[in-house]
């Protein structure tokens, strides 16, 4: 539908950032901490959404949990409490425990595709992203910089014009540029890998989004 969310790309990027040795020569080598099966990634985020014709960016911040295969919980704390859960089956949004949005992936064509990319990337299948994007590496040393551009720029289902990723051990920040000039900038902080299962509350949220 009208939803042109960069979120899905973001997940792809987060996941890609954790691919260890990139198997194909087409893909640039990126030195990040490997994410093993059964691990979860936790961290904080700060998001700035720059919208055309708006005075300033819409700022939000909070925490996130990524559990490969199950989904992503995006817990916004400021400016108000808001939970967004994404799974391969779709997306659910809750405000104060009340569901405000429910989107099966059938309704958002791009989402399932990105989930396929996410899964592929997490298991070291770089092909998933390089199928749809031209990836160029900039920068040297421990710190890396990637630019992702859609191969099919005319694909109407592709809601972005480009994506800039930057990081070293982890993905540190992302800039998602959309065709109409809007762009989202997300900074990731205090990330850590855990070899633990999601908490019961997180599992509940993930299950909820898994049953769309």
């Amino acid at each position: 539908m009208m939803i042109r969310s960069p979120l899905f790309l973001l997940i792809g990027a987060l996941a890609v950032a954790h691919v260890v040795a990139l198997p194909t020569s087409a893909a640039p080598a990126v030195d990040v901490t490997p994410m093993a099966q059964g691990q979860i990634l936790r961290g904080r985020f700060q998001q700035q959404r720059f919208l055309q014709g708006f005075q300033g960016p819409l700022k939000s911040s909070g925490t996130f949990v990524l559990s490969p295969g199950l989904g992503l919980i995006w817990q916004t704390e400021s400016p108000f409490a808001l939970t967004t859960i994404m799974s391969p089956a779709g997306l659910v949004q809750e405000v104060a425990g009340r569901e405000t949005m429910r989107m099966p992936s059938a309704r958002i064509p791009f989402m399932s595709k990105l989930y396929a990319m996410l899964g592929g990337a997490l298991t070291g299948d770089w092909d998933a992203l390089s199928n749809a994007f031209n990836i160029t590496r900039k920068g040297e040393g421990k710190s890396w910089r990637l630019r992702l551009e859609p191969k099919r720029a005319d694909d109407p289902a592709m809601p972005i014009r480009a994506m800039d990723l930057h990081g070293s051990r982890f993905l540190e920040d992302v800039d998602v540029i959309k065709p109409n000039g809007d762009h989202d900038r997300i900074v990731f902080l205090s990330q850590k890998l855990e070899s633990a299962s999601p908490t019961p509350e997180e599992a509940r949220l993930l299950a909820k989004a898994g049953q769309l």
């Binding site: 009208m2 969310s5 819409l58 995006w74």
Partner: protein, 788 residues
């Protein structure tokens, strides 16, 4: 005189042959659709039109799933298949999914009218005074991830009402999702890609079927070779129709061949000469050829079913020829003309009664039945003219004496029905017949469920089930018809019944429904929505804008319409592809249903709702067959009475009753015996009964019209006629199509009964006051003149 008439008849036959050759050269216009066999429902043209429109739209649709373990292969094969199908020029592509282009069009259609368009959930919140909730929801999407973050949209629609409306649109095909522009569903390791196309032309036209199926087959063979492991599942009326007409035509030609071969064998064995065979073939050939030409002139086209039944005419039209050629066994001998004179009364009377029977058939308002009736009437008249005008001239003088065995068998048959020492057996048989009749009546059950009368291809049914399972939902053939004086009133009606549909969906009776009002709310509803937005959200606007950080007064006076969106504008925009199918005419709308499990619950739910009703074409067709089955039985009764009256003029009432007895036994015992054997009585049994009356009365009349010294010869002719009829109609009992099988088995038993009981009719002769051979000659001359 006879010579002139013969030449006139020859000229007519030559003309018919020339006409037929030209038509066949142009390609015979054969139809195969069931719809063409349907009677026009005079009493409800509206319903008929809706039915036609919806059934045709459904029948045109082709749903193909292309599956492969590799998504890429599946997608490539689907693209190729679509290209191949489009290359035939027979198909239009149908875009059921909402790709970017479609979304853009949808967005620009709705955008100016957004203040009047509310999702049902938002509308409920606003109506309950919970505008805050709507505002929070929009903020959550603006600030959260995964929401609508388009700046332009947010500026124009700070409460994000339009995306909410769009997201709530009831779109069909729920399990499919768009991947790389292809609607896709994954099942286990398989990726299935949907190819949705719609036939431009008539799905039941034979040439369309052939061309499309040929293209489909060659394309799938090539694709399966290119992508090993590829699976293709298909669903569409055209596939079923093609499989059906393939079965029908192969069966028709198989049965026709068997019938012809059997008839030829029978004649050659009995006559031990070739000439009678050639004479009878001539009669049949002229009959069928003229019938075909005549029907094409009358109707312009023919239905395959009419042709199937029509070709079985071989068995009937050969009766007259056989009756004449069997006169060669007459011990009295005579020239061909003398022999013709002797059999003429029987043939004329038989023809007249048979025409009465077929005439009654033409009264049934089924176009297909009319075709069969006209085909048969022309064929019989032609066969009669051929026998009366040509056969004596072509016949060699000669008497056959080799059938003494048959003749003595015939004499024994007469003895069985007449000598007193068989009286007890005769009574027992009569009691048995009555018992079968009564027992059958007690178990009598009529059911015309069309789904059980067609032989649907197993493979296609499997594909249909698989497709239903994979894409989760399929369009039901049933639909709701909404009628109102104008579009606005119809839209309002839909809005009033929308809660009923929601309840039915919650009860699991259906999985989805699309009504025009869901895509274009009524003007009244749009105004209500505008008011709700004005009273509930307007007060929150300043705060919402501040929270979003929007510049103070940059209010877009851009594209906002105060007037509501109209249905005609939506239709003209072509943004909602299937809207056109839902709006049949101003004020006449269709609510399409998906995944309907209990049509009766839906019918009940809308019982008493003005202007809304469930249309169930299949059930309606079955109900129609019920009605016409009764009509056919009434017609049989009517023609029996007419025949009785006509025969009474000749034999007196008691004599006429004797002549009608064999037919009466055949038409009452045959269907009842089948009912006892477990068959459910259908329209097709009734049709067989109609025909049985006409055919069996011929046999009885031949027997009744025969003098005592020649009646064994006559009975041999009747047997020959009955056997040839069994070879044609009786063979239909072997058909795999249940409807044809019912018809054939009724004919089989009925003809056998008439075969055995025909001698009873000669009892009617005792009441005949007119010496058989005197005034009939003059009468025959007159009749043949009239007929020619």
């Amino acid at each position: 005189m006879t010579r002139v008439l013969s030449l006139v008849w020859l000229a007519l036959v030559v003309l018919a042959v020339v006409y037929l050759t030209v038509r066949i050269h142009d390609g015979l216009p054969l139809r195969t659709d069931l719809l063409a066999l349907l009677p026009r429902e005079e009493q409800d043209p509206t319903l008929q039109r809706a039915n036609d429109a919806v059934s045709r739209a459904l029948a045109r649709r082709l749903v193909v799933l292309v599956g492969h373990s590799s998504a890429q292969d599946a997608r490539a094969a689907a693209v190729r298949l679509t290209d191949d199908l489009m290359a035939t020029g027979l198909m239009d592509a149908v875009a059921e999914g909402f790709d970017g282009e479609r979304l853009k069009r949808l967005g620009s259609l709705y955008f100016p009218y957004r203040r009047g368009l509310l999702a049902e959930a938002d509308r409920a919140l606003l109506a309950a005074g919970q505008g805050e909730e709507v505002a929070t929801k929009a903020l959550a999407q603006a600030f959260g991830v995964g929401g609508i973050a388009d700046g332009n949209l947010l500026r124009a629609d700070p409460f994000l009402l339009l995306p909410s409306f769009l997201a709530a649109l009831p779109l069909p095909l729920s399990r499919l999702r768009l991947e790389d522009g292809a609607l896709t569903v994954t099942d286990g390791s398989m990726t299935w890609v949907l190819v949705l196309t719609s036939l431009r032309g008539e799905p039941f036209a034979l040439d369309v079927q052939e061309r499309l199926l040929a293209a489909f087959k060659s394309s799938s063979i090539a694709l399966e070779a290119a992508h090993p492991g590829l699976q293709i599942k298909r669903l569409g009326a055209v596939f079923f129709a093609e499989a059906g007409s393939r079965t029908a035509t192969s069966e028709a030609s198989m049965l026709a061949t068997a019938s012809l071969a059997g008839t030829i064998l029978l004649i050659v064995v009995v006559f031990r000469r070739v000439r009678p065979l050639l004479l009878n073939l001539l009669v049949v050939g002229v009959g069928i050829g003229t019938a075909l030409a005549g029907s094409l002139i009358v109707f312009g086209e023919l239905h395959v079913a009419a042709l199937l039944f029509g070709t079985s005419l071989i068995g009937v039209s050969v009766d007259y020829g056989l009756y004449y050629t069997c006169s060669a066994f007459d011990p009295a001998g005579g020239t061909p003309r003398e022999r013709l004179r002797r059999v003429m009364p029987g043939i004329v009377l038989g023809l007249l009664t048979t025409l009465l029977g077929y005439g009654a058939l033409a009264l049934a308002p089924f176009p297909g039945l009319r075709q069969i009736a006209v085909f048969s009437i022309i064929g019989l008249l032609a066969a009669f003219a051929t026998v009366a005008l040509w056969l004596p001239a072509l016949d060699a003088v000669g008497q056959a004496r080799h059938v003494d065995g048959l003749l003595s068998a015939a004499r024994r048959m007469f003895a069985f029905w007449e000598t007193p020492n068989w009286r007890r057996t005769r009574l027992l048989l009569l009691i048995a017949a009555v018992a079968i009749g009564i027992a059958g009546l007690l178990r009598f059950q009529a059911d015309n469920d069309v789904r059980r009368m067609q032989a649907l291809s197993e493979e296609l049914l499997r594909d249909q089930d698989d497709i239903r399972r994979l894409i989760g939902t399929t369009a039901a053939t049933q639909f709701l018809l909404v009628e109102a004086p104008a579009d606005e009133a119809a839209l309002r009606r839909e809005e009033t019944v929308s809660p009923i549909l929601a309840r039915l969906r919650a009860e699991g009776v259906l999985s989805g429904a699309q009504m025009p009002a869901a895509f274009v709310p009524s003007a009244e509803r749009q105004r209500e929505n505008q008011t709700l937005v004005g009273t509930q959200l307007e007060p929150l606007l300043a705060r919402q804008r501040a929270t979003l950080g929007m510049e103070g007064d940059a209010v877009e006076a851009s594209v906002t319409s105060i007037d509501p969106l109209t249905l005609s504008e939506a239709l003209a925009s072509n943004a909602v592809p299937f809207l056109r199918e839902l709006v049949l005419a101003p004020g006449m709308h269709v609510v399409a249903l998906q995944g309907l499990t209990a049509p009766e619950s839906v019918r009940a739910a809308f019982d008493g709702v003005a202007g809304v009703r469930l249309v169930d074409p299949t059930a309606d067709f079955s109900a129609l067959l019920d009605k016409y089955q009764r009509r056919a039985l009434e017609l049989t009764g009517l023609s029996a009475l007419l025949m009785l009256g006509a025969l009474a003029l000749r034999y007196g009432w008691k004599g006429a009753a004797w002549v009608m007895l064999p037919s009466a036994i055949a038409i009452s015992v045959a269907p009842m015996a089948l009912v006892l054997a477990g068959q459910v009585f259908t329209f097709f049994h009734a049709m067989a009964v109609v025909l049985l009356l006409s055919i069996t009365s011929d046999y009885a009349i031949f027997c009744a019209e025969s003098s005592t010294d020649r009646r064994s010869v006559t009975l041999v002719a009747v047997w020959m006629a009955a056997l040839t009829t069994l070879l044609s109609f009786g063979l239909l009992a072997l058909s795999r199509v249940p409807a044809v099988h019912y018809f054939g088995s009724t004919m089989l038993i009925g003809i056998l009964l008439a075969f055995c009981t025909a001698p009873l009719a000669s009892r009617g002769r005792r009441k005949l006051n007119v010496p058989p051979d005197s005034d009939l000659l003059a009468k025959q001359e007159r009749t043949s003149t009239r007929v020619a």
